[in-house]
């Protein structure tokens, strides 16, 4: 039972990280291969604040989110105002630099041998509550007028600018929010495992987060959540094939983008109202007004420009 609880908690931790990457990559169209670094920063911040200074867990969570956000601004501010791949490369370098600093942090971070003595606070209930709040907040961000600016930037930066969206500001904002999510994920992770090592947050972790979002569908929170549950649970079933796990991630990333760029769910979003309408629509043999009324479901028709062939949606 404890095993299943552990898997469920890890799913929650990954979900939190994936939600952030979903906003950044799926909805704003910025690719980051250093997101594990924000998780690491959150995890160590929380471990130090709670483990060393004896603060309550809530303070650890908040500190993790704040410090991770601040760290993201270091690379976000100089790179996201520029047109070009500066951010992608800086993010990669940032991930590496963070790991090196943690490795060489001496007694403060525990160095390569790890940080021990983090108190355990993350129970399944707490993790589930945090994720539920995380999903709700993210859903509201993306559904708001403010959040639609992210989508506009992903679709066409120039047009978004012409519409009066301050694209540089929104791109940096998107990174900041996603880093905060990663920081919280790191904090949850630290207080579940009770010890930390810099290698836990290497590039493989970043790959996992990014491929989960791509696999679920760029621009679908539901897809990200679903993909995260599937991709975290499946490797547990195939422990013996551990070596091939990352091979699979790499392959999934390429083949999804090449063969089915809309991912698992395209831009479909699950909502209770949408489901009810769908059921009702089936009975009424779907008059067009049903679809037009679908205002509350976050719906960005068609994925990134020219990407999705059918605009997603479940059959």
């Amino acid at each position: 039972m404890a095993y299943f609880e552990g898997v469920a908690i890890i799913i929650c931790v990954n979900l939190m990280g994936v939600l952030g990457v979903s906003l950044l990559t799926g909805f704003t169209g910025i690719f980051s291969f250093g997101h594990a670094a924000y998780m690491a920063i959150g995890a160590y911040t929380s471990a130090i604040v709670v483990g060393r200074f004896g603060m309550p867990f809530v303070v650890g969570l908040i500190a993790a989110a704040l410090v991770a956000t601040a760290a993201s601004l270091i690379i976000g501010y100089p790179t996201l105002r520029l047109v070009g791949d500066y951010f992608a490369i800086a993010a990669l370098g940032f991930g590496e630099a963070t790991r090196l600093l943690l490795d060489n942090g001496g007694d403060f971070t525990g160095g390569p041998r790890g940080f021990v003595g983090v108190p355990r606070h993350t129970t399944l209930l707490i993790a589930a509550v945090i994720v539920a709040v995380g999903v709700l907040v993210m859903r509201n961000i993306i559904g708001s007028r403010f959040g639609r600016s992210f989508l506009a930037i992903r679709e066409d930066r120039l047009a978004a600018e012409a519409m009066g969206i301050d694209t540089a500001r929104f791109r940096i904002l998107s990174l900041a929010i996603s880093a905060a999510y990663a920081g919280v994920a790191g904090s949850m992770f630290a207080h579940y495992l009770m010890y930390l090592q810099p290698v836990m947050f290497d590039i493989n972790k970043s790959t996992e987060l990014a491929s989960t979002v791509v696999f679920g569908g760029l621009g679908s929170l539901t897809g990200s959540v679903l993909a995260c549950i599937i991709l975290t649970a499946i490797p547990e079933l195939f422990r013996p094939f551990y070596l091939w796990r990352m091979v699979f991630y790499g392959l999934a990333l390429v083949s999804t983008i090449v063969l089915r760029p809309q991912g698992l769910l395209g831009s479909y979003e699950f909502s209770v109202a949408g489901l009810r309408r769908r059921l009702a629509g089936r009975r009424l043999a779907g008059s067009p007004s049903h679809r037009a009324a679908e205002g509350d479901a976050v719906r960005a028709d068609a994925g990134p420009r020219g990407g999705a062939r059918d605009g997603g949606g479940l059959p």
């Binding site: 791949d85 600093l101 491929s211 790499g250 983008i257």
Partner: protein
């Protein structure tokens, strides 16, 4: 005494800088045509390093043919990658985000496949070149460093000549301004992009062999490409002379930081430099002006 050490580090720095330049030039070439950072460049390098290693050890091939063959293998890998992964994306006219994601997937796939099949072990090249060193008065310099710098210099010159003097070279230059317009002018875009990947792959393969000889051959060897990318940004993203100058400057900087400040924090310093360059002068040393939004 100090000056001898400085001289040695100078040679080391220039040599590693030239190896980075081989990577950075291929990267910039692809960036200037398709406008995306090809992270799969790391894979081309690793393919070159491993095939060179196995040719020299298992097949006991002589050094020079082994290097040439390793370069061709890496070039072939680059062409196949372009054909299988990038061309479908290109033909769908998808956003550049898709290219970056696919390229990262390829890099991960390649690295992990090597770990799962060949193994994560570090392998060292048989010491054919490193032992020999040249006496320069008071200091000795590893001949491997000199050979690496010379061969890198030679291949970069050949490439420069090719780009500025041949018809295909002109086509590549035109494509780097506007790929679509070049296509409308009668340039066969598919074969041109394939050719650019061949050049980039061949150069990456050569750098892979040298890096393998300098350090060791291991699956994560490709991560060194990140430094070459930083070198390319330092020199000006998308500019070929910039890529060379930036890479050599970076090679010098990191060698001196490692020798005189801290070898552990070398990469942190490189990263700080990157952020500083982007804050102060995002167009780099020789780059064209960057579209900036404030």
């Amino acid at each position: 005494m100090l000056s001898v050490r400085v001289l040695q580090q100078l040679v080391n720095g220039v040599s590693i800088g030239f190896i980075y330049a081989l990577i950075a030039v291929g990267y910039s070439l692809i960036y200037s045509i398709l406008r995306f950072s090809n992270f799969a460049h790391a894979s081309f390098l690793v393919v070159g390093a491993y095939s060179g290693f196995f040719l020299v050890t298992a097949a006991s091939a002589p050094f020079v043919p082994a290097v040439l063959l390793a370069m061709l293998t890496a070039g072939g890998a680059a062409v196949v990658t372009e054909r299988l992964a990038y061309r479908p994306i290109r033909e769908r006219n998808s956003p550049t985000l898709y290219f970056i994601i696919a390229s990262m997937g390829i890099a991960i796939f390649c690295e992990q496949t090597i770990i799962a099949t060949i193994g994560p072990k570090f392998r060292t090249y048989p010491r054919v070149l490193q032992i020999v060193s040249v006496d320069l008065g008071k200091t000795t310099v590893g001949i491997m460093d000199v050979v690496a710098a010379l061969m890198a210099c030679l291949s970069l010159s050949v490439m420069q000549y090719f780009l500025s003097r041949t018809k295909t070279g002109f086509a590549i230059q035109a494509a780097s301004f506007d790929l679509q317009a070049a296509g409308l002018m009668g340039v066969n875009v598919n074969s041109l992009v394939g050719f650019v990947f061949l050049i980039a792959g061949v150069l990456a393969g050569l750098s892979g062999v040298f890096l393998g000889m300098k350090y060791a051959v291991y699956p994560q060897l490709g991560y060194l490409t990140t430094k070459a990318f930083v070198g390319a940004i330092f020199g000006g993203l998308g500019s070929l002379p910039g890529a060379i100058v930036g890479s050599i400057a970076l090679g010098l900087l990191e060698t001196f930081v490692a020798a005189f400040i801290s070898s552990q924090l070398r990469d942190v310093v490189v990263f700080i430099l990157l952020i500083a360059v982007l804050l102060i002068r995002p167009s780099g040393l020789m780059g064209k002006s960057v579209e900036e939004k404030v």
